[in-house]
Amino acid sequence: MARQAGKPTSVIGRWERNEVKPSLETLREVIRACELDLRLGLIALDESQDAAIELSLELTAEERFDRLTAWARFLTEGREGLRVP
């Protein structure tokens, strides 16, 4: 990719390691060099789940883990309950 885009591998490595971010124009140049194009669009911001996400972020990792396990168990048992014998 470095060769195609005419960029030093060190620069691409820094992007990959998230040390620096390319500008939108640079990103488009690199994408074009790969014979691809970048399509951008605007959509409405969806904040409908924010309150639930914020509550989730207040949990500890262990609480999140227990919730995940409990959800999966609940859904599994629910599906089993709905299964026609």
């Binding site: 998230n18 924010d50 996400i53 989730s56 972020l57 883990f65 999966a72 599994t76």
Partner: protein
């Protein structure tokens, strides 16, 4: 009958315990990593990226054997000839197993990443019920799902990105 034909169960704690007892080095990725990072995400399998050196893959294979792991969806003929060891695991990129504790997916090079060493840089160390585990960062989960670009990834990505935004705004990490 293999576990693939039985009812789905998901007991990730037992899977993580087996991996820890075997001394395996790995990163939790995928839906479980998303959930542990705070996303409101439900999954029915545990996805991991192990360190790909042979000794470690032997430890992962030992943990899998201890959980009576079967290759997902394989016929008995294939199962019989399948040797579950580090050498076999190193020959593939992704494996899907059904164990006594649920489905365990192994991906040595998840989409959009360069595997264990790449994910380890951003991974978060945490403790779950006394088990020390490394979890892929939400940024890396998103990066991988963007690269995989499966329909279910596209469905989940907006909420994962929003979770990351709110996480950053709240100063978590």
């Amino acid at each position: 009958m293999t576990g693939a034909e039985g009812p789905r169960r998901f007991d990730p704690a037992s899977m993580l315990e087996a991996l820890e007892n075997a001394g395996a080095k790995y990163i939790v990725i995928g839906g479980t990593a998303a959930a542990l990072n705070g996303a409101r995400h439900t999954t029915f399998d545990l996805d991991i990226t192990p360190d790909r050196n042979r000794a470690n893959l032997d430890r992962v294979a030992a943990a899998l054997r201890g959980m009576n792991a079967h290759l997902y969806g394989m016929t008995l003929d294939v199962e019989k000839s399948f040797q579950l060891d580090g050498r076999t695991l190193s020959a593939g990129s992704a494996w899907k197993f059904v164990t006594d504790h649920g489905e365990l997916d192994i991906s040595l090079d998840p989409d959009g990443t360069h595997g264990f060493k790449d994910l380890k840089r951003g991974a978060i160390e945490t403790r779950i019920h006394g088990l020390r585990i490394f979890v892929a960062s939400l940024e890396d989960v998103i990066r991988s799902k963007e690269a995989a670009d499966r329909p279910r990834d596209r469905d989940h990505l907006p909420e994962l990105r929003r979770t990351l935004e709110l996480m950053r705004r709240g100063g978590e990490q």
